[in-house]
Symmetry: C3
Subunit: 321 residues, 3 copies
Amino acid sequence: MGSKSPAEQKRCTILDSMVDNRYRSEIPAIVDMVINSCSEKGCFDHLDAAVIPSKESLIEIIDLIKDILFPGYFGDQTVDRNTLSYHIGNEITDLFSKLSKQITNSIIQECNRYDEDCTDCIDRGQEETLKFLKKIPELRSMLASDIVATFEGDPAAKSYDEIIFSYPGIFAMTVYRSAHQLHRQGISILPRIMTEYAHSIVGIDIHPGARIGKGFFIDHGTGVVIGETCEIGDNVRIYQGVTLGSLSFPKNEKGELIRGEKRHPTIEDDVIIYSNATILGGETRIGARSVIGGNVWITKSVPPDTKVMIEEPRLIFKEKK
Amino acid sequence: MGSKSPAEQKRCTILDSMVDNRYRSEIPAIVDMVINSCSEKGCFDHLDAAVIPSKESLIEIIDLIKDILFPGYFGDQTVDRNTLSYHIGNEITDLFSKLSKQITNSIIQECNRYDEDCTDCIDRGQEETLKFLKKIPELRSMLASDIVATFEGDPAAKSYDEIIFSYPGIFAMTVYRSAHQLHRQGISILPRIMTEYAHSIVGIDIHPGARIGKGFFIDHGTGVVIGETCEIGDNVRIYQGVTLGSLSFPKNEKGELIRGEKRHPTIEDDVIIYSNATILGGETRIGARSVIGGNVWITKSVPPDTKVMIEEPRLIFKEKK
Amino acid sequence: MGSKSPAEQKRCTILDSMVDNRYRSEIPAIVDMVINSCSEKGCFDHLDAAVIPSKESLIEIIDLIKDILFPGYFGDQTVDRNTLSYHIGNEITDLFSKLSKQITNSIIQECNRYDEDCTDCIDRGQEETLKFLKKIPELRSMLASDIVATFEGDPAAKSYDEIIFSYPGIFAMTVYRSAHQLHRQGISILPRIMTEYAHSIVGIDIHPGARIGKGFFIDHGTGVVIGETCEIGDNVRIYQGVTLGSLSFPKNEKGELIRGEKRHPTIEDDVIIYSNATILGGETRIGARSVIGGNVWITKSVPPDTKVMIEEPRLIFKEKK
């Protein structure tokens, strides 16, 4: 190194051979320290425990579900009607195998958490997978209604293909509707990992516990939050930044949060909620056909057929110096 | 299975061999049900149809465009001036081949949609690709102006390298400016898939139809929405959560949305729009050098050299019990 | 081509052999134009320069850090206590090798920027990596406090496993706390690329320069912005869309931005900040145990034990025609 001119040194790239054993010799002590640190300070590990559902596998599962729900859209070759049954047959077989593994992982995980026996986890994993697969026609029909609602609600949409292929709201709903089905079957963790994956891709955070009717259209979508106990009717439309959240967090006598109670609002059929509106509380109900304006903050119920706008804050117009 | 102790069972991992044929035997009936479900209930498929532009390929295309626009930044080895022409030559050849395929896919897709003949799709795909490649110097120059504007507008930016390498706004603008060029050439679907990909990465949703002048700086960016018919002048700066959206959706006599009309605002040169402001409507025009404050909601035009702030809602300060 | 029926042409897929040399022959002229364009028009390149830290490598580094901080959570096989030391030993060795390369790249990059000699970059790269590795127990302990705060603050969280595995806030904090450690060691660029990667995944934008105490809980998180010079105490909780930003950008006598000054707020212990609140300015201090309501916009300090709410804008309820 010393013989290089400064100019060369400045531009040097690092070769593996330059890694110095002087430094590497310190590694074992660090490894010991890291392993022992958990006993001294609080930390989380997951040793000797069932494998948690794998994210990589879930991404494959979601891709398979998309291919099966929308045949011919996402592959890199034309799917034709003659060989469709081979195509779908192959993908459903693959999905059965991958999904049943991850559902079983979730069930074992849950058994361990309650320290229960897990005698029929693997059977139950496969049964629940079959139950899910039988719901595919229903999922297709629900998602078709979301796509039609998107086309009818967005003047920027040029075709159904564009919507299926590129709209973030449709991706979020595909994952949510699949995860919600698993949630209804009592599968834990897995549905949450699925919707959080969709959240990370499109910025739309829908809890798999929420109940959403047909023809749901989310435009743009970044920042949308739909909480665990929301109930949403048919043909509802929402825009970016809308929060359907909780208002307060009741605690039990030990001061611990009570989990599972209805904390999020009910939205009736044909409601429209414009961008960045916030609607909070488990007893808040937005009546059918109401329109909630942008930026509105609501914590009480609204009767049907009502338009709610904020009285816009007065704007101050100043000439710039 | 039955011979395992409960402790072992709890910790069991799933082996492929445990997958039970009892369950797998139900798959064929499910496949039939899925295939036949489309005739009974509404659903979307894309059978016997042209392949839709591939997202995987688009990601490669965007990576190539980034490498060509910013040579030496994104690869894993130093690019030197002597061999630059081989490097760029190789990447442009690769881009030509990948992009012309996807453009051709888009053209065929569009032909099919209108049930038109597609006699020269492949030739046109290659012609449009060349047209795009010839615009690279212009794209580099526009993006350079965006990078300079970012450095001049953000005290947290320490160097141009940091901006090019890590700023989400620059990624969004790289993809948008490329997609907009394709949009201007009349290519459909492909530009939308490109900007929705950027949207999924950085949370910034710019429609490829929007027109944006040079020196555009988006800070932080999550939640930004810029609609299809926006016109934005030079040296405009916007912050996270800003929406430049539409106000109403005019319908034709059949009750269908009218698509393509100017629905989104015009922003003149040197305007600054702070976080979470919303500006709506095709006739709304923000005059040059105006400053729009955070959280402002505007649906009418603003003259040049004006500062618009909301009269801040009165805050209630309560001592906590 | 000419002999195909229109119907066939409509459905044609593109074969590589169809790429026409007529078009490819134009490529060399385009390559020359692209290479020469940089001299005529403004543009950025990074030629003959040190390699910038690689994003692909950083993703591997972040995955390794997650595995080491939370053993057994993210792999695809059970980690047991008997062989834990091999597992951790192997991952720390791998992390040392990958991280020291990228830290060295960052140091060389910084040397070049100031046109300084870079005589001990590679040694310093390895020293700084060891310094980082020794902080792992502290990082584990800090992140454990964040996880506990999340469970205690969110009634939708069913278990610690669910939080570690799927909560976007925990991912953001894992990356931020690691990047902040490197930032404190004076490493440039690398920490910013790390937090911008997390931003792209979860929509939470935390600058590595911010200082954040233990037990920090971000719920939902999309749109959160925490600026470079923020100081946040212990047990603070924030929701989606919260901005802790700067208010003004002081410039020096040459009209250039002054970089590095405290521009972002101070948040004391046990503060809660609800969704979409905006708190701005380097002298703004939110006193301990205060609660900042949703949508509040604050540019002045708030005393301890205070609840701040906006006087909600009056809502207009209109019956729909």
